[in-house]
């Protein structure tokens, strides 16, 4: 009867030999796929890290730092100018009004000179040959009148231009002050708010980075579970091989010694051996099933973590209000840059007007010497008239009156001339002040430098934005695809089903043998022979030994855990 048990045990042994070993290619293929997925997950994480930490994080922080550094400079550039320039223009316009008033008085002198020239000619004609010399005097007086009229016209013309320029400059100054005011009130506040908001965003990115680190740790943890589970193909293969060896060697030994051994003892031993192998197979089946389930769970968890990466990255891209912070800072920088350019252009315009005013004043003051000569010339004419009148004697009494009038006029003319000259000098002084001031307005280097720096920021931001968009697109696409593929891979793993079925079938067969043998064998059979004991002792794994102990000695349940609570217990360095 026992012979039939031997052949059944050998049949189970032969069937078991194919159960796990035949699945190796499946595991290897799964391993290769896993390798590829792990690489893709690593790449995804690298992209996410670059996006969160380098691209958005570090560069953003650097731009914010630089903008913050420039804030003081920008603040000074947006500072509304004081009214010195406008005051200076006001002063010039005041001087011009005074000058025009003085020139009105000059007109009176010219008219007097014209009348004196006519009177001198009349008196000269009355005197006949004796008054001939007075014609020259009349000519001189007339010429001087013309000269003064000509100078006055020139000065009036320049004064009118100057006044127009001053009005123009005043308008431009008002405009630049309004721009500065807007810069100071709106643009600067906008930059300040933007920087503050970006600083807050930068701080929130640190939290996002921590979250990403957590997700990465979860991914590594899932990968660890998967790698551990994959090893159960080898572990369970060995467990099943040990069962195969025990079955084969037990059958071989007992069959070889059938004639020498008691049939009841042999049945008893067969009952023991097969019961033990059932327990080992059940444990192997549980281990394998659990490992494959952990593998499936690990892959699904990996898919979820990959989706988490996508979520984290999306959070990193968006600011507090859901808008992209890089877009927002780009707009601000563009706005500020345009504003500084406008300020520089306006400043240049004002500077040019100042220079034009100064140049016009220079032209005006070129008459200063001529005007002063007028005073001297009229005095000479008056002196000449007095001398000639004295030479003429009583006949020239009338001319003496004329000479006296010329003398009086020369006194007035000198006063007027001095006043005009003084006014022109005042205007020239104010013009010099304006010319100095114009240098500051014409020097756009500070605004140009700031604009260039802001343009530099823009370039950096454009590059960052481009890289961020590209990374985000890649992360989005890859995360979706990878997560789907991981889900599909996890749900497609069915390797445990045929293995479980085969192990259950083998265990069932051995259980039947064990039950029959136990029933037919001696109730208190002889102790297991050393040879069979040695076969059963030949376990390599603690779990196998635990099962062995629980069945033979009743020591413990042999319910070994798939993964120990502290995996480091499995490591020993000598």
């Amino acid at each position: 009867m026992v012979d039939s048990f031997f052949s059944r045990m050998r049949r189970v042994q032969a069937n078991l030999g194919r159960v796990i070993a035949a699945r190796e290619d499946e595991f290897l293929e799964l391993g290769s796929t896993l390798h590829a997925f792990a690489s893709r997950a690593d790449n995804l994480v690298d992209m996410a890290r670059e996006l969160v930490e380098s691209t958005v994080g570090e560069i953003l922080k650097e731009v914010v730092r630089q903008l913050d550094d420039k804030m003081e400079t920008m603040r000074s550039m947006c500072q509304v100018s004081d009214t010195a320039e406008m005051d200076e223009f006001g002063r010039i316009r005041g001087f011009l009004a005074d000058l025009l008033s003085l020139l009105e008085n000059y007109g009176r002198i010219v008219r007097t000179l014209q009348m004196l020239a006519i009177s001198t000619r009349i008196e000269s004609a009355r005197l006949g040959a004796d008054g001939r010399g007075f014609n020259t005097l009349a000519d001189d007086v007339e010429k001087l009148g013309l000269k003064i009229a000509e100078y006055s016209a020139h000065i009036r013309e320049q004064a009118a231009r100057l006044d127009a320029l001053s009005v123009d400059a005043d308008g431009r100054m008002t405009s630049i002050r309004s721009s500065q005011q807007e810069c100071s009130l709106n643009v600067f506040v906008m930059v300040q708010e933007n920087v503050t908001s970006l600083q807050r965003y930068g701080t929130s990115l640190d939290a996002v980075s921590d979250s990403l680190t957590g997700t990465i740790a979860e991914i590594q943890n899932s990968m660890g579970e998967i790698v551990s589970s994959m090893q159960f193909h080898d572990i369970v293969r060995q467990q099943v091989e040990h069962v195969e060896e025990a079955l084969g060697e037990t059958a071989d030994y007992l069959q070889a010694h059938t004639d020498e051994l008691d049939a009841g003892d042999m049945a008893h031993w067969l009952g023991q051996v097969n019961t033990m192998q059932v327990a080992q197979l059940e444990y192997a089946e549980t281990s394998f099933s659990q490992a494959v389930q952990v593998l499936r769970d690990g892959l699904q968890a990996l898919g979820l973590h990959v989706r988490d990466v996508q979520q984290v990255v999306e959070t990193a891209r968006q600011g507090e209000d859901g808008s992209a912070p890089l877009d927002s800072i780009s707009e601000t920088v563009l706005h500020v840059s345009a504003h500084f350019r406008q300020l520089a252009e306006q400043g240049g315009d004002v500077g040019n007007v100042m220079v034009a005013v100064a140049d016009t004043v220079s032209e005006m003051t070129s008459f200063l010497d001529d005007i002063e000569d007028v005073g001297a010339e009229i005095e000479l004419i008056a002196l000449n008239a007095s001398i000639k009148a004295a030479h003429t004697g009583d006949m020239g009494k009338a001319l003496g009156v004329l000479a006296l009038s010329i003398q009086t006029l020369s006194h007035d003319a000198r006063q007027q001339t001095d006043s005009i000259a003084e006014k022109l000098r005042s205007i020239a002084g104010a013009a010099d002040v304006l010319r100095d001031m114009s240098r500051g307005y014409l020097d756009s280097s500070q605004a140009d430098a700031m604009t260039a720096e802001l343009q530099g920021f823009m370039e950096q931001l454009r590059t960052v934005q481009g890289r961020a968009d590209s990374l985000l697109g890649s992360v989005d696409n890859e995360a979706v695809t990878l997560a789907e593929e991981l889900d599909a891979l996890a749900s497609g793993i069915r390797v445990d089903e045929p293995v479980r079925a085969a192990l259950q079938q083998a265990a069932g067969e051995l259980m039947q043998i064990a039950e029959t043998c136990t029933q037919e064998g001696n109730e208190e059979g002889a102790p297991l022979p050393d040879v069979l004991q040695a076969i059963l002792d030949r376990y390599t794994m603690e779990s196998e030994r635990a099962i062995h102990r629980s069945h033979l000695v009743g020591d413990g349940e042999g319910d070994a855990e798939l993964f120990g609570d502290d995996l480091d217990d499995n490591i020993e360095l000598f």
């Binding site: 990968m223 660890g224 090893q231 390599t540 794994m541 499995n570």
Partner: protein, 120 residues
């Protein structure tokens, strides 16, 4: 310089997982199917060996002894990676010249930690 580690196991799936883990950690890996195969591939820069215990042709203990007999590899770290956890077997491995013992299954970070520690 990238360090080279030899993994010796008759199970292709275990070799695959060891190789996968070590390559991911930046190591170069040579695979061998048993002790005999390992000895035939042992040439050039091999900085460490991770071997199974029970293998056909030449088992892990014999492999350790063979490696230790080659002057160039006399002192390289050799770690056993096996399902075997009996103290007597560990003692046997230690006596043969094993540097450490890892019982399967391993977690990737464990293996990498051990490798970094013994290669330090």
């Amino acid at each position: 310089m990238t360090k080279t580690i030899m993994t010796v196991d008759d199970s292709a799936s275990v070799r695959q997982m060891v190789s996968f883990t070590l390559k991911k950690a930046g190591f170069s890996v040579i695979e061998a199917t048993d002790g005999k195969d390992a000895m035939s591939k042992l040439s050039g820069p091999v900085h460490m060996v991770i071997t199974d215990l029970n293998m056909p042709n030449m088992d892990g203990i014999a492999l350790i002894k063979s490696i230790r007999a080659v002057p160039a590899y006399k002192f390289i770290p050799i770690v056993m990676l096996t399902t075997e956890s009996q103290a007597s077997r560990k003692q046997e491995g230690k006596a043969a010249g094993a540097t450490g013992w890892i019982v399967k299954p391993f977690k990737p970070e464990q293996l990498v930690d051990v490798v970094k520690k013994v290669l330090r």
